[in-house]
């Protein structure tokens, strides 16, 4: 495995640091250890592909870094903040302001238009309403949609009226709209044909070149080839 050599996070710390992180899911049939004493550092601007077979702990790792879950033991630092110490609201704020998610199934909100899907996280960051900075929000959303190459005429379409590739572009725009440090991508090309998948990966690589730190879960070695480094998980540990 190759170690990424990039600029470090604020104060000289890595942007993401896992220190002997363990995640155990208590189940009726017995505890399942999804991540087992994993230590990892990701520098700012890195592009890491996380690989491994099903059940190896890839998604759990992504959820932990994405602040959707907290470690059972060990410490996970994002920008120097230990997420284990955070209550739900600060954890959500950290996720909202630092992380952007891109999912395999796009996960757009079907009731909202492409534009509104992109606008949603920005409005959440403003406290739930468009309010006095409405113009700023509109400009930001338009800029982000343009940066992912989505035709402006499609902005008023509902997700069901868009192709898979277009939906994933909207999802990437949504992930970028709050200008997060980190993009977490879970099989971002898994539901796309090869050609569209290639376009999306080129878009992600472009984002990375623009300074975004990307952690991407994938099974596909060709997709993983876009990353600066790969890590492989086996039974919740680095291989």
């Amino acid at each position: 495995m190759e170690k990424g050599v990039n600029s470090t996070g604020e104060g000289g710390n890595p942007l993401i640091r896992l220190d002997s992180v363990t995640k155990v899911y208590p189940l009726p049939a017995g505890d399942v250890t999804a991540i087992d004493r994993l230590s990892l550092e990701v520098e700012r601007g890195d592009f890491v592909a996380v690989m491994g077979v099903s059940g190896s702990g890839k998604s759990t790792l992504l959820n932990l870094i994405g602040c959707l879950d907290v470690p059972t033991s060990g410490d996970l630092y994002l920008n120097g903040v230990n997420i284990r110490d955070l209550a739900d609201d600060p954890l959500t704020e950290l996720r909202r302001d630092t992380i952007g998610f891109v999912f395999q199934q796009f996960n757009l909100i079907p009731l909202l238009t492409a534009y509104e899907n992109v606008e949603f996280p920005l409005i959440l960051a403003q406290g739930g309403n468009g309010g006095p900075v409405r113009e700023e929000i509109v400009n930001r959303c338009r800029a982000v949609l343009a940066s992912v190459g989505l035709d402006e005429s499609l902005a008023t379409h509902k997700p069901s009226e868009l192709s898979g590739g277009q939906q994933q572009r909207v999802a990437i725009a949504r992930a970028l709209v709050n200008d997060p440090d980190i993009l977490l991508c879970d099989e971002p090309t898994g539901n796309l044909d090869t050609r569209t998948g290639t376009t999306i990966m080129e878009l992600l690589a472009q984002m990375n070149r623009g300074g975004k730190t990307i952690i991407m879960v994938t099974h596909d070695p060709r997709v993983a080839g876009y990353a600066r480094r790969r890590i492989e998980l086996v039974d919740g540990r680095l291989a």
């Binding site: 959707l68 909202r96 996960n107 509104e116 468009g130």
Partner: protein, 387 residues
């Protein structure tokens, strides 16, 4: 506003089940408002028909007579000596001893029973008002209550015979309509002089004594003074402060009004259960969506707001329609029950429509509270995995 708009769109997407939930709220609001308006109209119409006798104390013998009169056959009486004691105890306030009874009143071929009141002619202007003619001045003659005069077609100067073999008496005046009073009810009665009453029926005592209090603030002290004067050893008389009686009656009608409104409220509870059901279905169907919203940075309270907005929109629509239809419902209820809509368009009645609408919105929000809480507390990872 996007959160509100998002909630509104979800209601529109599932318009049919939202419509059914709204119908529940509409019915609840109409029921609660109509019953409230009906109850209030009932109280107002009763209050109106009762003579306001706030300045009156009525004294009647213990276990005899009664506040509504008609105790002609009761053996217990207030003696002239007791009347003197009352007069002494109340100072400068006016004391009016009254004989009450009933007899046949015959006018031409018409022969009916009617109430009779015997009073000192000098006292009559103190508690009764004149519609036509003059007040009684001598021991002979009589005054007719307004309703009795209408029934018998009596005018000033008409003569009536009191009792099957009784003497003829000339009507000198017609009294103004007084409504139901706690002291005397002369609308269907003849008022004669006390002397005439005593000589005709051989009565010595009085059935009741009315005390008109000049200064309302003295009512309590005057009541106590009469009690102290006559009920020293045993309770000889009952002293009734008419304000309390009026209050008791109004309290009873208010209780009836509250009860009927509460029955209307039951339908609102049913509507609340319907909203709860719709909202729970919405949470279950949108579990994945909730996971997405959480993953893009929505806090628990923001997720909660989305669902509470949905409940609020349902409540606002239901209460709005219900409020409009309540006018019709209340009009129908009041028309059927009271045969009059006089008290429908008064603020104290209309406020029940506002209450009904507020209850509708409140019920809706309350019903949405648990589903919203559940949505807000879903585990984001599990929610994202949900199909």
């Amino acid at each position: 506003m996007i959160l509100f708009d998002y909630a509104r769109r979800n209601i529109r997407l599932h318009w049919f089940r939202s419509f059914l939930a709204v119908i529940g709220i509409v019915i609840g609001v109409v029921a609660i408002s109509s019953m409230g308006v009906l109850g209030n109209s009932l109280v107002l119409s009763v209050s109106e028909s009762l003579t306001t006798v706030g300045d009156t104390i009525v004294v009647y013998p213990q276990s005899g007579g009664g506040p509504m009169g008609g105790g002609g056959t009761t053996a217990l009486r207030i003696t002239p000596r007791q009347v003197d004691e009352i007069t002494r105890s109340v100072g400068t306030n006016i004391v009016i001893p009254v004989h009450t009874g009933a007899d046949r009143v015959i006018v031409g071929s018409e022969n009916r029973a009617a109430s009779l009141y015997g009073m000192d002619p000098a006292d009559i202007p103190e508690i009764l008002d004149l519609e036509d003619g003059i007040f009684l001045r001598s021991t002979t003659g009589a005054m007719a209550g307004k309703r009795l005069a209408e029934e018998f077609d009596l005018n000033v100067g008409s003569t009536v015979r009191i009792g099957e073999d009784g003497e003829r008496v000339r009507i000198v005046g017609i009294l103004k309509e007084r409504g139901i009073g706690f002291d005397i009810n002369p609308d269907y009665a003849l008022v004669v002089s006390d002397r005439w009453f005593e000589s005709t029926y051989g009565e010595e005592g009085y059935n009741l004594v009315v005390v008109k209090v000049q200064n309302l603030e003295e009512i309590d002290s005057v009541t106590t003074a009469i009690e102290d004067a006559l009920n020293r050893r045993t309770d000889v008389v009952t002293v009734l402060d008419t304000r309390m009686v009026l209050q008791t009656i109004l309290d009873a009608f208010n209780s009836i009004s509250t009860f009927t409104t509460a029955i209307g409220g039951i339908s609102l509870i049913v509507a609340g259960v319907s909203i709860l059901n719709v909202m729970m279905m919405s949470v279950t169907e949108r579990t994945r969506e909730i996971g997405i919203i959480r993953s893009i940075g929505a806090k628990r309270r923001e997720v909660m707001r989305i669902f509470l907005y949905e409940a609020l929109v349902l409540g606002l629509i239901g209460s709005g329609i219900g409020g409009v239809l309540s006018f019709g419902g209340a009009y129908l209820a009041v028309s059927v029950m009271l045969q009059s809509t006089t008290y429908l368009f008064v603020p104290s009645s209309l406020v029940y429509i506002l209450y009904g609408m507020l209850f509708g919105i409140g019920t809706s929000l309350l019903s949405g509270l648990y589903p919203a809480w559940r949505a807000a507390n879903l585990n984001p990872i599990e929610a994202l995995r949900h199909d």
